[in-house]
Amino acid sequence: MNTLVIIAIVSLIAIGFYCLIITRNILKIIVALQVLVKGAMIAMILAGKLTDQMELAQSMAITIIVADTIVAVIGLAMSIQLREKTGTCDIHSISKLKR
């Protein structure tokens, strides 16, 4: 069963990484980051289970969830600002925000 969970972890991280490489839309980049972080969180839980330190793993995973949510919120805010200022969600145009 641990093998199945490892497959899920690696698949989630690979899918997130793949989407992160190919996409240019900032909202899709946030989706990719979310998927990637979910894989990392499951890895943390599995590591806690295997080393019999579930409580430590849970507290670390809560920190991961909080950080992930804040990253999503700030990314969404940036996407709105990007759309307002440049009319597109292309990550290439993010440098235009400083002008």
């Binding site: 690696v10 698949s11 909202l27 409580e55 809560i62 920190t63 969830i65 700030i74």
Partner: protein, 166 residues
Amino acid sequence: MPLVYFLVVAALIYSAHKATRVKGLLNAALWLAGTSCLTSILVYILGSPGLAVIELSVGAGLVTVLFVFAISIIGDEKITSDVFVPHWLAISISVVSFGMLAYLLIAQHMPSVQSETTSPIFSDLFWEGRKIDIYLQGALFISGILGILLLIAPAVSKRIKEGKNK
């Protein structure tokens, strides 16, 4: 039990794949919510129900609401096919690197280390043992609130302007 694991893992991978590959942004947000639900189920099966509830409420609830809110402001535009690198190269990099990682993890056999000390209670560990992380989470919450204000500000100011014009 292995069948449940298999079904959840298969659905999780499919849902994550759809979230990253589907064209519409709203569809991607909904598939991401499904991924969060399945992640929380997997976390629950792994023996951490408290964390599963947090993941379900935050990942599938709060983040999805924020996504839908942001998409309603900027519009559900279709994703363009222009990419940084070719698809075949991205797939090759992902499959080779993470395939090697999976092989190493599975072939080397995951360690099953049993700690000698007794495991502390979760609340003691969280509130007493990891105070710096709590402060960090407080700072993160404040930046999140500022982010939400930034998220809402353009739409609200636009509506105020529209109201004044009327």
